[in-house]
Structures are given as structure tokens and as C-alpha cells.
Amino acid sequence: MSASSDTRGVNRRRFFSDTAAAVCGTGFLALLLGWAAAPARSLAATALRPPGALPETDFLAACVRCGLCVRDCPYDTLKLADLADGAASGTPYFEARKIPCEMCEDIPCVVACPTGALDKGLTDIAKARMGTAVLVGHETCLNFLGLRCDVCYRVCPLIDKAITLEMRHNQRTGKHAQLIPIVHTDVCTGCGKCEKSCVLEETAIKVLPVELARGQIGAHYRLGWEEKAKKGGALVDGIIDLPDRGYTPPPIKEFRP
């Protein structure tokens, strides 16, 4: 009797220690896997996701790395990341400077996705936000130097909407214009055609991930002039407009050569 209850006690202890070992072993392996997968969670700034891609953290939970979007891309824009590439191994991405997105109207890559990693809610390619173009080369962009390159502006599929040319005075010559390409982040799809076609050795306009490319003003910020327009008058009544410490701006004529 006592012998059998002893055995039972031993068996119970054995069961608990085996279970504890299995649980701890699983935890150890889970941590190892977490570390192994950690670097894959950061996406290189040069790697752009296909149109309709969920936000990166959701995308990495949804994409099964099957490559169906890559197969259905008619321009070989998309490719699957290899081990050491800038995107999680096996996930689809493209590099604008190599092959940009041609913005197919039927968006075949999104249609091909079996998991919803590319959101089927995207049916108008102009609403895609693969990234945002940023003119980073203010010292090198030929238009900034006073030339009329305009290539990024001309190739933009949303010309005069996503990129416009803004005329400025050329301070250097004093008598010419600069036509500065301005990207409008609310329209730019991040297709990358501007980056692809920049004539410089190293492109002056680059498509960056949306969150990297845009500033964001604080939610509590109010733009005085907008508030004023909304109100239809001065926001504070009876405010005294003090003189500006005796400074009188020179007549505008002096700036005009």
C-alpha cells in the first residue's frame, strides 16, 4: 500500500518536473525565435512595400511570403526579400531606383494576395501610399541649381498634382527663376517613377516610407490664419498692434533687379 502511494508520489513529481522542463524549454526556444525574428521587423528605408500593404507591423503578421504578388507584377517591380535584404526574409518589396511601380489600374498584385496582407479595399491605385517622395538633394537637384531639368515632374503619373513646380527667385544670379519641384504628400502614391528617372548619379528625389517622409504637427496646434478665416475676423478683439521697434521694411522694389 505504502509502496504504491510512494510510486504515485514519485510519478507525480516526475510529471510536474517533466512538464516544467517542457514549458521552460518552450519558453527558451520562443525567446530564441523572437530574437531571430527581431531584425526582420525593421524595414530598410529603401525597401518599399507593394500597393495596399498593411502597416508594417500588421503586414508581417499577414504576409505568408508566397510570392504570388511578385508573380503577378507585370513589370517585375516586386521581388521577394532574400536573407540579407532590407525587408523581412521572403516578403515582397521594391526599390524605386531600380524598377518603380507602374501603378496598374487593375492592381494585379493586390488581387493576387491570398491573405489580405495587401488590402483588397484598395481599388483605386491613386489612393495607394507605398511611400512618399522627398526631394532630399537641395544642393544637387538641377532645378535647385537653376536649370530646367523637370524630369521628376514630367514623369510623375500624377503630374501637377503629386509634384508641382514652384517658381522662385534665383538668388545666385539675381535675375533668373528657379522652378522647384514640390511634392504634395496628400497625393503622392510613392510609385517611385521620379526617383527612378532622376538624372543625377545619386538621385536627388527619393521615395521614403510614409512615416519617415512626413512631418506631423501636434494635434493641439492651431494655425492662426485658418482659425481667423474660420471665424471671419480677428480671434482676439481689441488687440493692440505694436510698432516693430522702428524697423521699416525696405520698399519691395529693392529686391527686384
Binding site: 518552450t26 526582420a40 508581417l60
Partner: protein
């Protein structure tokens, strides 16, 4: 020099001829190549049969198939795949549950060729070094994969999964274009060759562990209907990637079928047995509590065990 280590194969070749001693091996290599060609015919010849990879594919434009373990990771990471992806996973799950889960391992998976090669070279070189690992370790890895996917919200196994890594590299051609998938494949080869025999597929791979679990009740199995002819040469044990599965079929009085979910139904035991003890075939599904038998004579006392 000690006596030469016995290698499985030569005895069977003497007894049955080369072809019969390699029949299932040839069939498997053909199947593995065939599955690869289904994916490669498109990029190579412009004839699209299966598009995608083993993770998820579309065959002939209508049949979606998805890796169920990938889908489980996705669900653990809190993403509900679209209907196509889910349907594909259910189809694959049903097919393997009905046949034998680990058929995937020996008939489809591209890594099998690598680990089989490592095992063969290991036998030829007579490498004895063998770090002991529990074969249940893969179940812990499987649990860890699901756990870590849930904790990180990422399909963690896909950061390292050599199965999809190799298949992708083959199908998308990055293996020959400077890709790094070969490093993972090489690591597995060296591990199996010099560290632990059948280390990867037999001890660590959670994909195989997963398929093993879903295919417990399948119909495809190896049986030993002629087990009274066994002369204990042990060639089957030497060649088998999961040798512990064989013993019950040879000794269990009630059943001569290999029931273990670990068995990959590779058929190598059938090939290398000089006495033609084993058969690879289809058996009626095992229902709860019932046993099945392929017709071996019941064992009597004094029978070889």
C-alpha cells in the same frame, strides 16, 4: 581499423536487384522534382501550373493551397487571413490528415533531399559523432513558434524556416543569383552530417512536427506483412530517418502497421529490406480504439522480436 560498419542497401541490391532496392527512393525523388517543376514550369518555360511557393500557391488559376502552419502562425499573430488563404490551408490540412501528414516531409519538402544527402554521406564516411537530442524537441520548437508569433505579432518561423527559404530560392531563382538561402541549407547539412544524425528533420523541424500531428489518423502507412521473414539485419533501422517507428510493426502482436505519426512513409525500409518484409500502401483509416493489420501472421512465443 575496426570492422567495417554495415551499410544498408548492398544486401537488398544483391537480393532484389538495384531497381527494386531503390524503387521508392526513385519515386520520391521524382515526386520532389515534380512538385518543384510545377512551380518552375512558369518561370522557366512560360507554362504556369502552380504559382507562388509552398507557403501559399495558386494552381492552374483555381486551386489555392496554403501551408497550414503558416496560417497558424498568422492567426497567432492576430491576423485573420482572407478566405482564399484559409481555404488553401484547410485543403492542405484535409489532404494530409486523410493520407499521412509527414508525406509532406519525404515526398514534397525540398530540404529532405539535403538531409537525406547528409545522412547518406554520414553513413558512407562512418561518422559516429552524435549529439543526443530528444525527438520531442521539435514539439517544443513548434509550441515556441506559435508562442513567439503570438508574442511578437510576426510569423517568427518565417525568419528562419529553411523549407520555405530553400523553396523560394529555387522557385524565384535567387539561389543561383547570389542569394543567401544556401547558407541555411549548408548549416542544416553540416548539422545533420557531423552533429546529430537526422538532426534537423528528425529532431528540430516544427513543420514536420506539425504535419506529423495532423496526420496521425491517415491511411498511407508502411506495414510489415512478411515480418516472419525478418532476419534482423537491421538495414531498415540504419536507413530509416525515424528508426523508433519500426519496432512496433515488427513486434506488436496486434498490428504490423507503422502507426507512429513520426513515420514519413518514405519507403526506404521497403527498399533496403533484403527479405521484402515491408510494404508501403494504403490501409483503411484507423478508428478510435481499433487496430488494423496488413495481414501478418500473429506472433508466437519464440518469434523474433
Amino acid at each position: 581499423m575496426s570492422a567495417t560498419v554495415r551499410r544498408p542497401g548492398p544486401a537488398a541490391i544483391r537480393e532484389k536487384g538495384w531497381f527494386l532496392a531503390h524503387r521508392w527512393l526513385l519515386a520520391r525523388r521524382a515526386a520532389q522534382l515534380g512538385f518543384l517543376l510545377l512551380f518552375l514550369s512558369g518561370p522557366l518555360f512560360g507554362v504556369w501550373i502552380a504559382k507562388g511557393t509552398l507557403s501559399s500557391s495558386l494552381t492552374l488559376g483555381v486551386l489555392p493551397l496554403s501551408d497550414p502552419l503558416m496560417t497558424v502562425q498568422s492567426l497567432a499573430a492576430r491576423h485573420l487571413p482572407e478566405a482564399t488563404g484559409l481555404l488553401g490551408a484547410v485543403l492542405v490540412l484535409a489532404a494530409y490528415a486523410a493520407s499521412r501528414g509527414r508525406l509532406y516531409c519525404s515526398w514534397v519538402c525540398p530540404v529532405n533531399v539535403v538531409t537525406d544527402a547528409a545522412a547518406a554521406l554520414r553513413r558512407r564516411l562512418g561518422i559516429r559523432a552524435n549529439m543526443a537530442l530528444s525527438r520531442r524537441l521539435r514539439l517544443l520548437v513548434l509550441a515556441a513558434v506559435v508562442l513567439a508569433s503570438a508574442a511578437t505579432g510576426v510569423l517568427v518561423w518565417e525568419a528562419v524556416n529553411p523549407v520555405t527559404l530553400l523553396h523560394r530560392a529555387l522557385v524565384f531563382g535567387t539561389l543561383t543569383a547570389g542569394g543567401l538561402a544556401w547558407t541555411v541549407v549548408a548549416a542544416i547539412f553540416l548539422f545533420d552530417l557531423a552533429v546529430t544524425a537526422r538532426g534537423w528533420c528528425g529532431h528540430l523541424c516544427p513543420v514536420g512536427a506539425f504535419y506529423g500531428q495532423i496526420g496521425r489518423w491517415g491511411t498511407v502507412a508502411v506495414s510489415a506483412p512478411q515480418r516472419e521473414r525478418c532476419d534482423h539485419c537491421k538495414d531498415c533501422y540504419l536507413v530509416c530517418p525515424e528508426p523508433h517507428v519500426i519496432t512496433p510493426a515488427l513486434t506488436d502482436a496486434a498490428s504490423d502497421i507503422i502507426e507512429s505519426p513520426d513515420c514519413t512513409a518514405c519507403g526506404r525500409c521497403v527498399d533496403v529490406c533484403p527479405q521484402s518484409v515491408f510494404v508501403l500502401g494504403i490501409h483503411p483509416p484507423r478508428l478510435a480504439g481499433t487496430r488494423r493489420t496488413a495481414g501478418a501472421a500473429p506472433l508466437h512465443q519464440g518469434d523474433p522480436t
